[in-house]
Protein backbone atom coordinates (compact mmCIF):
# COMPACT_ATOMS: atom_id res chain seq x y z
CA UNK A 1 0.00 0.00 0.00
CA UNK A 2 1.24 3.43 -0.85
CA UNK A 3 1.31 5.85 1.99
CA UNK A 4 -0.31 8.91 0.40
CA UNK A 5 0.36 12.31 1.89
CA UNK A 6 -2.52 14.25 3.42
CA UNK A 7 -3.58 17.67 2.15
CA UNK A 8 -1.26 20.24 3.69
CA UNK A 9 1.72 17.89 3.65
CA UNK A 10 2.48 18.55 0.00
CA UNK A 11 2.47 21.59 -2.25
CA UNK A 12 1.37 22.09 -5.86
CA UNK A 13 4.95 21.72 -7.12
CA UNK A 14 5.19 18.35 -5.34
CA UNK A 15 1.98 17.19 -7.02
CA UNK A 16 3.23 18.28 -10.47
CA UNK A 17 6.61 16.68 -9.92
CA UNK A 18 5.08 13.34 -8.92
CA UNK A 19 2.54 13.43 -11.75
CA UNK A 20 5.43 14.03 -14.16
CA UNK A 21 7.49 11.21 -12.61
CA UNK A 22 4.54 8.83 -13.13
CA UNK A 23 4.74 9.48 -16.90
CA UNK A 24 8.15 7.81 -17.02
CA UNK A 25 8.45 4.06 -17.62
CA UNK A 26 11.42 1.94 -16.68
CA UNK A 27 14.14 1.38 -19.31
CA UNK A 28 13.12 4.44 -21.30
CA UNK A 29 15.49 7.01 -22.77
CA UNK A 30 14.38 10.37 -21.49
CA UNK A 31 15.40 13.85 -22.62
CA UNK A 32 15.33 16.16 -19.64
CA UNK A 33 15.19 19.92 -19.43
CA UNK A 34 16.20 22.15 -16.55
CA UNK A 35 14.04 22.53 -13.48
CA UNK A 36 11.03 20.59 -12.33
CA UNK A 37 11.28 17.98 -15.14
CA UNK A 38 14.79 17.13 -14.00
CA UNK A 39 13.58 16.55 -10.44
CA UNK A 40 10.66 14.47 -11.76
CA UNK A 41 12.89 12.25 -13.85
CA UNK A 42 15.37 11.73 -11.06
CA UNK A 43 12.43 10.92 -8.77
CA UNK A 44 11.26 8.28 -11.26
CA UNK A 45 14.82 6.94 -11.36
CA UNK A 46 14.80 6.56 -7.58
CA UNK A 47 11.40 4.87 -7.49
CA UNK A 48 9.79 2.86 -10.29
CA UNK A 49 12.23 3.46 -13.17
CA UNK A 50 15.76 2.63 -11.94
CA UNK A 51 16.93 1.74 -15.45
CA UNK A 52 15.88 4.87 -17.30
CA UNK A 53 18.56 6.57 -19.35
CA UNK A 54 18.88 10.29 -19.02
CA UNK A 55 20.02 12.56 -21.84
CA UNK A 56 20.77 16.23 -21.33
CA UNK A 57 20.54 18.42 -24.41
CA UNK A 58 23.94 20.02 -23.74
CA UNK A 59 25.63 16.67 -24.28
CA UNK A 60 25.54 14.38 -21.24
CA UNK A 61 24.48 10.84 -22.10
CA UNK A 62 23.13 8.49 -19.43
CA UNK A 63 24.19 10.62 -16.47
CA UNK A 64 23.48 9.67 -12.87
CA UNK A 65 23.96 12.94 -10.99
CA UNK A 66 23.63 12.42 -7.24
CA UNK A 67 22.26 15.93 -6.87
CA UNK A 68 20.12 18.12 -9.11
CA UNK A 69 22.08 20.07 -11.73
CA UNK A 70 21.10 23.72 -12.02
CA UNK A 71 20.86 23.42 -15.80
CA UNK A 72 21.65 20.92 -18.54
CA UNK A 73 25.04 22.60 -19.06
CA UNK A 74 25.99 22.19 -15.39
CA UNK A 75 29.09 20.28 -14.28
CA UNK A 76 26.85 18.14 -12.05
CA UNK A 77 25.25 16.58 -15.14
CA UNK A 78 28.39 14.60 -15.88
CA UNK A 79 28.62 12.77 -12.60
CA UNK A 80 28.28 9.06 -13.27
CA UNK A 81 27.61 9.65 -16.96
CA UNK A 82 28.25 7.13 -19.70
CA UNK A 83 29.62 9.89 -21.91
CA UNK A 84 30.12 13.65 -21.85
CA UNK A 85 29.72 14.87 -25.42
CA UNK A 86 27.95 17.70 -27.16
CA UNK A 87 24.81 18.94 -28.85
CA UNK A 88 25.46 17.25 -32.15
CA UNK A 89 25.33 13.89 -30.42
CA UNK A 90 22.28 14.77 -28.35
CA UNK A 91 20.23 15.97 -31.33
CA UNK A 92 21.44 13.19 -33.63
CA UNK A 93 20.33 10.65 -31.03
CA UNK A 94 16.93 12.31 -30.96
CA UNK A 95 16.60 12.45 -34.75
CA UNK A 96 17.77 8.84 -34.98
CA UNK A 97 14.75 7.88 -32.87
CA UNK A 98 16.28 6.82 -29.56
CA UNK A 99 14.25 9.14 -27.37
CA UNK A 100 11.11 7.70 -25.78
CA UNK A 101 10.07 10.66 -23.71
CA UNK A 102 10.84 14.36 -23.48
CA UNK A 103 9.77 16.85 -20.84
CA UNK A 104 9.13 20.41 -21.93
CA UNK A 105 7.51 23.65 -20.88
CA UNK A 106 5.75 26.44 -22.74
CA UNK A 107 4.18 29.86 -22.42
CA UNK A 108 1.06 29.06 -24.51
CA UNK A 109 -0.56 25.86 -25.78
CA UNK A 110 -3.49 25.27 -28.14
CA UNK A 111 -6.00 22.40 -28.27
CA UNK A 112 -3.69 20.38 -30.59
CA UNK A 113 -0.67 20.66 -28.30
CA UNK A 114 1.12 23.26 -30.39
CA UNK A 115 3.32 25.18 -27.99
CA UNK A 116 4.74 28.70 -28.08
CA UNK A 117 7.95 29.78 -26.38
CA UNK A 118 8.94 32.48 -28.88
CA UNK A 119 6.82 35.62 -28.50
CA UNK A 120 3.52 37.03 -27.30
CA UNK A 121 1.56 38.99 -29.91
CA UNK A 122 2.40 39.46 -33.59
CA UNK A 123 5.76 37.83 -34.38
CA UNK A 124 6.82 40.76 -36.55
CA UNK A 125 5.78 43.30 -33.91
CA UNK A 126 5.70 41.40 -30.63
CA UNK A 127 4.37 42.60 -27.29
CA UNK A 128 7.01 40.42 -25.64
CA UNK A 129 9.85 38.44 -27.07
CA UNK A 130 10.38 35.26 -24.98
CA UNK A 131 13.41 32.94 -24.86
CA UNK A 132 12.85 31.39 -28.30
CA UNK A 133 12.59 27.78 -29.29
CA UNK A 134 15.60 26.17 -27.68
CA UNK A 135 15.30 22.43 -28.16
CA UNK A 136 11.55 22.43 -27.64
CA UNK A 137 10.59 21.82 -31.30
CA UNK A 138 13.38 19.28 -31.75
CA UNK A 139 12.42 17.09 -28.82
CA UNK A 140 8.78 17.45 -29.73
CA UNK A 141 9.53 16.49 -33.33
CA UNK A 142 11.46 13.33 -32.51
CA UNK A 143 10.50 11.86 -29.14
CA UNK A 144 7.83 9.15 -29.10
CA UNK A 145 6.07 11.04 -26.31
CA UNK A 146 6.42 14.48 -24.83
CA UNK A 147 5.02 15.78 -21.59
CA UNK A 148 4.54 19.49 -21.00
CA UNK A 149 4.50 21.04 -17.57
CA UNK A 150 2.74 24.41 -17.59
CA UNK A 151 1.16 27.08 -15.46
CA UNK A 152 -2.57 27.01 -16.17
CA UNK A 153 -4.12 30.35 -17.03
CA UNK A 154 -6.79 31.22 -19.55
CA UNK A 155 -4.33 33.39 -21.46
CA UNK A 156 -2.03 30.36 -21.83
CA UNK A 157 -4.57 27.69 -22.92
CA UNK A 158 -5.56 29.47 -26.11
CA UNK A 159 -7.53 28.90 -29.29
CA UNK A 160 -4.50 29.91 -31.33
CA UNK A 161 -0.96 30.40 -30.08
CA UNK A 162 0.88 33.57 -31.12
CA UNK A 163 3.59 31.49 -32.77
CA UNK A 164 3.91 27.73 -33.17
CA UNK A 165 7.36 27.07 -31.76
CA UNK A 166 6.87 23.37 -31.21
CA UNK A 167 4.70 20.95 -33.19
CA UNK A 168 1.54 19.38 -31.73
CA UNK A 169 -0.84 16.86 -33.29
CA UNK A 170 -2.18 19.15 -36.00
CA UNK A 171 0.50 21.34 -37.49
CA UNK A 172 0.99 23.85 -40.28
CA UNK A 173 1.89 22.54 -43.70
CA UNK A 174 3.99 25.13 -45.48
CA UNK A 175 4.06 27.03 -47.77
CA UNK A 176 0.29 27.44 -47.37
CA UNK A 177 0.11 26.97 -43.62
CA UNK A 178 -3.03 24.79 -43.58
CA UNK A 179 -3.40 22.50 -40.56
CA UNK A 180 -2.74 18.81 -41.17
CA UNK A 181 -2.21 15.82 -38.89
CA UNK A 182 1.47 15.60 -37.99
CA UNK A 183 1.61 12.04 -39.31
CA UNK A 184 1.05 13.47 -42.78
CA UNK A 185 4.01 15.81 -42.47
CA UNK A 186 6.57 13.79 -40.55
CA UNK A 187 6.62 10.68 -42.74
CA UNK A 188 9.43 8.34 -41.69
CA UNK A 189 10.22 10.56 -38.72
CA UNK A 190 6.74 10.20 -37.23
CA UNK A 191 6.90 8.48 -33.87
CA UNK A 192 4.14 10.13 -31.85
CA UNK A 193 3.61 13.52 -30.30
CA UNK A 194 2.60 15.36 -27.16
CA UNK A 195 1.21 12.75 -24.79
CA UNK A 196 0.31 14.80 -21.73
CA UNK A 197 0.14 18.28 -20.33
CA UNK A 198 0.48 18.53 -16.60
CA UNK A 199 -0.85 21.98 -15.75
CA UNK A 200 -1.33 23.57 -12.37
CA UNK A 201 -5.02 22.51 -12.54
CA UNK A 202 -5.07 19.05 -14.11
CA UNK A 203 -3.60 16.45 -16.42
CA UNK A 204 -4.55 16.59 -20.10
CA UNK A 205 -4.01 14.04 -22.85
CA UNK A 206 -4.55 13.94 -26.61
CA UNK A 207 -6.63 11.84 -28.96
CA UNK A 208 -3.99 10.67 -31.42
CA UNK A 209 -6.47 10.47 -34.29
CA UNK A 210 -8.30 13.80 -34.19
CA UNK A 211 -5.44 15.49 -32.32
CA UNK A 212 -7.65 17.14 -29.69
CA UNK A 213 -6.74 17.69 -26.08
CA UNK A 214 -8.96 16.14 -23.42
CA UNK A 215 -9.03 16.37 -19.65
CA UNK A 216 -7.75 13.20 -17.99
CA UNK A 217 -7.59 14.02 -14.27
CA UNK A 218 -8.29 17.08 -12.14
CA UNK A 219 -5.85 18.05 -9.42
CA UNK A 220 -7.41 17.95 -5.94
CA UNK A 221 -9.51 21.08 -5.51
CA UNK A 222 -10.32 21.61 -9.22
CA UNK A 223 -13.45 20.53 -11.11
CA UNK A 224 -13.86 19.95 -14.86
CA UNK A 225 -16.13 23.00 -15.07
CA UNK A 226 -13.53 25.22 -13.40
CA UNK A 227 -10.83 23.90 -15.70
CA UNK A 228 -12.97 24.47 -18.82
CA UNK A 229 -13.42 28.01 -17.59
CA UNK A 230 -9.63 28.46 -17.77
CA UNK A 231 -9.37 27.36 -21.43
CA UNK A 232 -10.16 29.54 -24.45
CA UNK A 233 -11.19 26.49 -26.50
CA UNK A 234 -13.85 23.82 -25.92
CA UNK A 235 -12.18 21.25 -23.74
CA UNK A 236 -13.31 17.62 -23.99
CA UNK A 237 -14.15 16.70 -20.38
CA UNK A 238 -16.05 13.51 -21.24
CA UNK A 239 -13.14 11.21 -20.46
CA UNK A 240 -12.20 12.48 -17.00
CA UNK A 241 -10.98 9.62 -14.86
CA UNK A 242 -11.03 11.40 -11.52
CA UNK A 243 -8.38 13.09 -9.41
CA UNK A 244 -4.64 13.26 -10.07
CA UNK A 245 -2.79 10.92 -7.69
CA UNK A 246 -1.35 12.81 -4.74
CA UNK A 247 2.30 12.31 -3.72
CA UNK A 248 3.25 9.54 -1.34
CA UNK A 249 5.24 10.37 1.79
CA UNK A 250 8.20 8.46 0.33
CA UNK A 251 8.08 10.60 -2.84
CA UNK A 252 8.04 13.76 -0.71
CA UNK A 253 11.01 12.50 1.29
CA UNK A 254 12.97 11.84 -1.90
CA UNK A 255 12.14 15.25 -3.39
CA UNK A 256 12.96 17.30 -0.33
CA UNK A 257 15.62 15.31 1.51
CA UNK A 258 17.51 13.76 -1.40
CA UNK A 259 16.89 15.50 -4.73
CA UNK A 260 16.21 19.17 -4.06
CA UNK A 261 17.03 19.89 -0.40
CA UNK A 262 17.94 23.51 -1.22
CA UNK A 263 14.45 24.09 -2.72
CA UNK A 264 15.92 25.36 -5.98
CA UNK A 265 13.06 24.07 -8.10
CA UNK A 266 10.50 22.70 -5.62
CA UNK A 267 9.58 24.72 -2.54
CA UNK A 268 8.50 22.83 0.56
CA UNK A 269 4.81 23.01 1.45
CA UNK A 270 4.14 25.65 4.05
CA UNK A 271 3.05 24.08 7.31
Amino acid sequence: MSDFASPGEYGLADLLCCAAAHEVQDNEIVFAGTGLPMVAIMLAQQTHAPNLKLIFEAGTLDGRPPEIPTSVGDARCEMGASRASGLYDAFSIAQRGYVDLGFLGGAEVDQYGNVNTTCIGDYLDPELRLTGSGGNPDINSFASRTVFIMVHEKRRFVEKVSYITSPGWRVKKWPGGEFVHRRELYGAAYRGGPSAIISTLGVFRFDEEDGHMYLDTCHPGSTPAQIQEQCQFDLDVSRVKGETAVPTREELRLIHDVLDPDEIFIPKAKK
Partner: protein, 322 residues
Protein backbone atom coordinates in the same frame (compact mmCIF):
# COMPACT_ATOMS: atom_id res chain seq x y z
CA UNK B 1 58.59 26.83 -35.81
CA UNK B 2 55.68 28.88 -36.98
CA UNK B 3 55.14 32.19 -35.31
CA UNK B 4 53.50 32.39 -31.93
CA UNK B 5 49.69 32.35 -31.82
CA UNK B 6 49.67 34.15 -28.48
CA UNK B 7 47.75 37.43 -28.33
CA UNK B 8 46.15 39.55 -25.62
CA UNK B 9 42.48 40.02 -24.77
CA UNK B 10 42.61 43.46 -26.41
CA UNK B 11 44.15 42.07 -29.60
CA UNK B 12 41.55 39.29 -29.70
CA UNK B 13 38.77 41.88 -29.65
CA UNK B 14 40.52 43.89 -32.40
CA UNK B 15 40.39 40.87 -34.75
CA UNK B 16 36.59 41.06 -34.63
CA UNK B 17 35.68 43.96 -36.92
CA UNK B 18 32.52 46.04 -37.17
CA UNK B 19 30.04 43.96 -39.17
CA UNK B 20 31.78 40.62 -38.48
CA UNK B 21 29.77 37.46 -37.96
CA UNK B 22 30.67 35.90 -34.66
CA UNK B 23 29.97 32.77 -32.64
CA UNK B 24 30.96 31.49 -29.23
CA UNK B 25 31.86 28.37 -27.32
CA UNK B 26 29.72 27.12 -24.48
CA UNK B 27 26.11 26.52 -23.67
CA UNK B 28 23.70 29.06 -22.15
CA UNK B 29 25.53 30.07 -18.93
CA UNK B 30 28.64 27.92 -19.34
CA UNK B 31 32.09 28.65 -20.87
CA UNK B 32 31.25 31.92 -22.60
CA UNK B 33 34.32 34.04 -23.57
CA UNK B 34 33.43 37.00 -21.37
CA UNK B 35 36.84 38.66 -21.05
CA UNK B 36 36.78 39.33 -24.81
CA UNK B 37 33.05 40.09 -24.87
CA UNK B 38 33.62 42.84 -22.29
CA UNK B 39 36.55 44.12 -24.37
CA UNK B 40 34.33 44.26 -27.50
CA UNK B 41 31.95 46.46 -25.53
CA UNK B 42 34.83 48.69 -24.37
CA UNK B 43 36.02 48.99 -27.98
CA UNK B 44 32.43 49.88 -29.01
CA UNK B 45 32.19 47.28 -31.75
CA UNK B 46 29.11 47.82 -33.97
CA UNK B 47 26.87 45.86 -36.39
CA UNK B 48 27.95 42.43 -35.24
CA UNK B 49 26.05 39.47 -36.67
CA UNK B 50 25.81 36.86 -33.93
CA UNK B 51 25.24 33.32 -35.17
CA UNK B 52 24.79 31.10 -32.17
CA UNK B 53 23.74 27.49 -31.56
CA UNK B 54 22.17 29.04 -28.47
CA UNK B 55 22.46 32.42 -26.83
CA UNK B 56 23.16 33.35 -23.25
CA UNK B 57 24.49 36.17 -21.07
CA UNK B 58 27.15 37.02 -23.69
CA UNK B 59 24.34 37.75 -26.16
CA UNK B 60 22.55 39.92 -23.65
CA UNK B 61 25.68 41.95 -22.83
CA UNK B 62 26.55 42.57 -26.49
CA UNK B 63 22.95 43.32 -27.45
CA UNK B 64 22.45 45.63 -24.49
CA UNK B 65 25.63 47.53 -25.40
CA UNK B 66 24.35 48.13 -28.94
CA UNK B 67 27.06 46.01 -30.59
CA UNK B 68 24.66 43.69 -32.44
CA UNK B 69 22.75 44.22 -35.66
CA UNK B 70 21.57 40.66 -36.42
CA UNK B 71 20.98 37.79 -34.00
CA UNK B 72 20.53 34.38 -35.55
CA UNK B 73 19.88 31.61 -33.06
CA UNK B 74 17.21 29.75 -31.12
CA UNK B 75 17.23 30.75 -27.46
CA UNK B 76 18.47 33.42 -25.12
CA UNK B 77 18.23 33.67 -21.35
CA UNK B 78 20.16 33.07 -18.15
CA UNK B 79 18.68 29.71 -17.09
CA UNK B 80 17.39 29.95 -13.52
CA UNK B 81 19.08 33.33 -12.98
CA UNK B 82 16.89 35.23 -15.46
CA UNK B 83 14.06 33.72 -17.41
CA UNK B 84 14.50 35.39 -20.80
CA UNK B 85 16.75 37.82 -22.63
CA UNK B 86 15.40 41.16 -21.51
CA UNK B 87 17.83 43.24 -23.60
CA UNK B 88 17.12 41.32 -26.79
CA UNK B 89 13.40 41.51 -26.06
CA UNK B 90 13.62 45.29 -25.63
CA UNK B 91 15.62 45.77 -28.85
CA UNK B 92 13.21 43.52 -30.80
CA UNK B 93 10.27 45.60 -29.57
CA UNK B 94 12.12 48.79 -30.58
CA UNK B 95 13.01 47.23 -33.95
CA UNK B 96 16.70 47.91 -33.38
CA UNK B 97 17.76 44.37 -34.16
CA UNK B 98 16.99 41.69 -36.73
CA UNK B 99 16.21 38.27 -35.27
CA UNK B 100 16.34 35.11 -37.33
CA UNK B 101 14.75 32.14 -35.54
CA UNK B 102 15.73 28.55 -36.07
CA UNK B 103 15.35 25.57 -33.77
CA UNK B 104 18.20 24.38 -31.60
CA UNK B 105 18.84 21.25 -33.67
CA UNK B 106 18.61 23.26 -36.90
CA UNK B 107 21.29 25.65 -35.63
CA UNK B 108 23.45 22.71 -34.56
CA UNK B 109 23.05 21.01 -37.93
CA UNK B 110 23.82 24.31 -39.72
CA UNK B 111 27.12 24.50 -37.82
CA UNK B 112 27.83 20.82 -38.52
CA UNK B 113 27.23 21.43 -42.24
CA UNK B 114 29.62 24.40 -42.23
CA UNK B 115 32.18 22.35 -40.30
CA UNK B 116 31.97 19.65 -42.96
CA UNK B 117 32.29 22.15 -45.80
CA UNK B 118 28.74 21.33 -46.97
CA UNK B 119 26.36 24.04 -48.20
CA UNK B 120 23.37 22.87 -46.16
CA UNK B 121 21.96 20.23 -43.86
CA UNK B 122 18.76 18.26 -44.35
CA UNK B 123 16.63 17.43 -41.33
CA UNK B 124 13.09 16.60 -40.31
CA UNK B 125 13.04 18.68 -37.16
CA UNK B 126 10.52 21.43 -36.48
CA UNK B 127 8.25 20.59 -39.42
CA UNK B 128 4.84 22.24 -39.03
CA UNK B 129 6.04 25.13 -36.88
CA UNK B 130 6.15 28.86 -37.51
CA UNK B 131 9.94 28.62 -37.69
CA UNK B 132 9.21 27.66 -41.33
CA UNK B 133 6.54 30.31 -41.87
CA UNK B 134 7.67 32.09 -45.07
CA UNK B 135 6.25 35.38 -43.77
CA UNK B 136 8.72 35.22 -40.89
CA UNK B 137 11.89 35.24 -42.98
CA UNK B 138 13.32 38.29 -41.24
CA UNK B 139 16.60 38.60 -43.12
CA UNK B 140 14.85 38.07 -46.47
CA UNK B 141 12.36 40.81 -45.74
CA UNK B 142 15.16 43.13 -44.73
CA UNK B 143 16.87 42.49 -48.08
CA UNK B 144 19.94 41.03 -46.41
CA UNK B 145 20.12 37.73 -48.32
CA UNK B 146 23.17 38.30 -50.52
CA UNK B 147 23.83 34.59 -51.16
CA UNK B 148 27.37 35.06 -49.88
CA UNK B 149 27.57 35.64 -46.15
CA UNK B 150 23.81 35.24 -45.69
CA UNK B 151 22.15 32.37 -47.56
CA UNK B 152 19.75 33.03 -50.44
CA UNK B 153 16.96 31.26 -48.50
CA UNK B 154 16.21 30.80 -44.81
CA UNK B 155 15.28 27.18 -45.58
CA UNK B 156 13.96 25.06 -48.44
CA UNK B 157 11.64 22.08 -48.41
CA UNK B 158 12.29 18.89 -50.28
CA UNK B 159 10.98 15.34 -50.28
CA UNK B 160 13.44 12.62 -49.22
CA UNK B 161 14.84 11.76 -52.67
CA UNK B 162 16.51 8.51 -51.61
CA UNK B 163 14.16 6.57 -49.34
CA UNK B 164 10.80 8.34 -49.72
CA UNK B 165 10.89 9.19 -46.03
CA UNK B 166 8.72 12.28 -46.36
CA UNK B 167 9.31 15.99 -46.13
CA UNK B 168 12.71 17.39 -45.24
CA UNK B 169 13.84 20.89 -44.48
CA UNK B 170 17.15 22.06 -45.87
CA UNK B 171 18.87 24.65 -43.72
CA UNK B 172 21.90 26.61 -44.94
CA UNK B 173 25.37 26.19 -43.47
CA UNK B 174 26.42 29.12 -41.30
CA UNK B 175 29.05 31.56 -42.51
CA UNK B 176 31.05 32.66 -39.51
CA UNK B 177 33.99 35.05 -39.58
CA UNK B 178 35.20 34.44 -36.05
CA UNK B 179 34.62 31.77 -33.41
CA UNK B 180 35.53 32.90 -29.93
CA UNK B 181 36.13 29.96 -27.61
CA UNK B 182 36.64 29.87 -23.87
CA UNK B 183 38.18 26.62 -22.69
CA UNK B 184 40.18 25.09 -19.88
CA UNK B 185 43.43 24.38 -21.72
CA UNK B 186 45.12 25.27 -24.97
CA UNK B 187 48.61 24.29 -26.11
CA UNK B 188 51.11 26.75 -27.57
CA UNK B 189 50.32 25.50 -31.07
CA UNK B 190 46.56 25.71 -30.57
CA UNK B 191 45.45 22.22 -29.53
CA UNK B 192 42.38 22.61 -27.34
CA UNK B 193 41.39 20.31 -24.52
CA UNK B 194 37.88 20.89 -23.24
CA UNK B 195 36.87 19.15 -20.03
CA UNK B 196 33.27 18.09 -19.50
CA UNK B 197 30.56 18.50 -22.12
CA UNK B 198 32.04 20.14 -25.20
CA UNK B 199 28.63 21.48 -26.36
CA UNK B 200 29.06 22.67 -29.98
CA UNK B 201 32.66 23.90 -29.69
CA UNK B 202 34.28 21.50 -32.21
CA UNK B 203 31.80 22.44 -34.94
CA UNK B 204 32.01 26.18 -34.11
CA UNK B 205 35.82 26.11 -34.34
CA UNK B 206 35.81 24.27 -37.66
CA UNK B 207 32.99 26.36 -39.17
CA UNK B 208 34.61 29.75 -38.56
CA UNK B 209 37.24 31.41 -40.77
CA UNK B 210 39.19 32.56 -37.71
CA UNK B 211 39.17 30.72 -34.38
CA UNK B 212 40.42 32.33 -31.18
CA UNK B 213 40.83 30.14 -28.11
CA UNK B 214 40.79 31.95 -24.78
CA UNK B 215 42.01 29.52 -22.14
CA UNK B 216 42.29 29.38 -18.38
CA UNK B 217 45.86 28.30 -19.02
CA UNK B 218 48.25 27.85 -21.92
CA UNK B 219 50.02 24.55 -21.36
CA UNK B 220 52.97 22.93 -23.15
CA UNK B 221 51.75 21.55 -26.45
CA UNK B 222 53.77 18.39 -25.77
CA UNK B 223 51.73 17.78 -22.59
CA UNK B 224 48.47 17.73 -24.57
CA UNK B 225 49.94 15.52 -27.29
CA UNK B 226 50.81 12.82 -24.78
CA UNK B 227 47.09 11.97 -24.62
CA UNK B 228 45.65 13.08 -27.95
CA UNK B 229 42.49 11.04 -27.28
CA UNK B 230 41.55 13.58 -24.62
CA UNK B 231 41.86 16.60 -26.92
CA UNK B 232 38.87 18.31 -28.49
CA UNK B 233 40.09 20.58 -31.29
CA UNK B 234 43.27 20.10 -33.39
CA UNK B 235 46.00 22.74 -33.38
CA UNK B 236 45.58 23.93 -36.98
CA UNK B 237 41.94 24.90 -36.48
CA UNK B 238 42.95 27.49 -33.90
CA UNK B 239 44.50 30.71 -35.18
CA UNK B 240 45.09 32.65 -31.97
CA UNK B 241 45.39 31.77 -28.32
CA UNK B 242 44.89 33.93 -25.24
CA UNK B 243 45.70 33.04 -21.65
CA UNK B 244 43.05 34.51 -19.38
CA UNK B 245 42.17 33.00 -15.99
CA UNK B 246 38.51 33.39 -15.01
CA UNK B 247 37.91 34.46 -18.60
CA UNK B 248 34.39 33.02 -18.63
CA UNK B 249 33.14 34.78 -15.50
CA UNK B 250 30.19 35.33 -14.78
CA UNK B 251 29.49 32.05 -16.64
CA UNK B 252 30.96 28.81 -15.33
CA UNK B 253 33.77 26.53 -16.43
CA UNK B 254 33.63 22.79 -15.77
CA UNK B 255 36.29 21.76 -13.29
CA UNK B 256 37.48 25.33 -12.72
CA UNK B 257 34.65 27.50 -11.34
CA UNK B 258 30.90 27.65 -11.08
CA UNK B 259 28.42 30.04 -12.64
CA UNK B 260 28.21 33.28 -10.62
CA UNK B 261 24.45 33.11 -10.22
CA UNK B 262 24.20 36.21 -8.05
CA UNK B 263 26.03 38.27 -10.69
CA UNK B 264 23.71 37.05 -13.45
CA UNK B 265 20.60 37.63 -11.33
CA UNK B 266 21.78 41.18 -10.69
CA UNK B 267 22.42 41.72 -14.37
CA UNK B 268 19.00 40.35 -15.36
CA UNK B 269 17.12 42.32 -12.71
CA UNK B 270 19.02 45.56 -13.33
CA UNK B 271 19.13 45.70 -17.12
CA UNK B 272 15.49 45.54 -18.23
CA UNK B 273 15.90 49.16 -19.30
CA UNK B 274 18.66 50.74 -21.38
CA UNK B 275 19.49 53.07 -18.48
CA UNK B 276 19.89 50.02 -16.25
CA UNK B 277 22.17 48.38 -18.77
CA UNK B 278 24.27 51.50 -19.21
CA UNK B 279 24.72 51.83 -15.44
CA UNK B 280 25.71 48.17 -15.17
CA UNK B 281 28.22 48.54 -18.01
CA UNK B 282 29.62 51.68 -16.41
CA UNK B 283 30.20 49.81 -13.18
CA UNK B 284 31.51 46.48 -14.47
CA UNK B 285 32.95 47.01 -17.95
CA UNK B 286 34.09 50.52 -18.87
CA UNK B 287 37.31 51.81 -17.39
CA UNK B 288 38.47 48.32 -16.40
CA UNK B 289 40.61 45.66 -18.00
CA UNK B 290 40.30 41.96 -17.17
CA UNK B 291 42.62 42.24 -14.16
CA UNK B 292 40.73 45.28 -12.91
CA UNK B 293 37.48 43.37 -13.33
CA UNK B 294 38.79 40.45 -11.26
CA UNK B 295 40.08 42.84 -8.59
CA UNK B 296 36.67 44.44 -8.40
CA UNK B 297 35.09 41.01 -8.14
CA UNK B 298 37.46 40.20 -5.30
CA UNK B 299 39.23 37.00 -4.41
CA UNK B 300 36.79 35.83 -1.70
CA UNK B 301 34.10 35.63 -4.37
CA UNK B 302 36.38 33.86 -6.84
CA UNK B 303 37.48 31.36 -4.21
CA UNK B 304 33.85 30.63 -3.39
CA UNK B 305 33.16 29.90 -7.06
CA UNK B 306 36.29 27.77 -7.46
CA UNK B 307 35.45 24.15 -8.32
CA UNK B 308 36.39 21.20 -6.23
CA UNK B 309 38.78 19.24 -8.43
CA UNK B 310 37.19 15.88 -7.59
CA UNK B 311 33.61 17.04 -8.19
CA UNK B 312 34.26 19.59 -10.95
CA UNK B 313 31.87 22.12 -9.40
CA UNK B 314 31.91 24.30 -6.31
CA UNK B 315 30.22 22.73 -3.29
CA UNK B 316 30.46 26.16 -1.61
CA UNK B 317 28.37 28.03 -4.15
CA UNK B 318 24.76 27.60 -3.11
CA UNK B 319 22.66 26.57 -6.05
CA UNK B 320 20.25 29.28 -7.05
CA UNK B 321 22.72 32.12 -6.70
CA UNK B 322 21.60 33.39 -3.29
Amino acid sequence: MSKSKRITVQQAAEIIKDGSSLTFSGFTIWRRPFAVVFELIRQQRRNLHLIEVNGGPQTEFLVGAGCVDIWESCWVGHELYGKYGANLSRKVAEKQILVEDYSHAEMMFRFAAAAAGAPYAATQTSLGTDIHNPAYDTLGQAGRRDGKRIAKHKYLFTEDPFFDGGQLVQVPAVKVDVALLCVQQVGEEGTVRVSGQYYSDPEAARAADITIAVAEEIVPEEYLRRHADQNTIPSFEVDYIVECPFGAHPTGMFGRYDVDGAFLKNFYNGTRTQEGFDAFAQEWIHGLDHTGYLEKLGWPRMLKLRANTAMNYSPREKKGGN
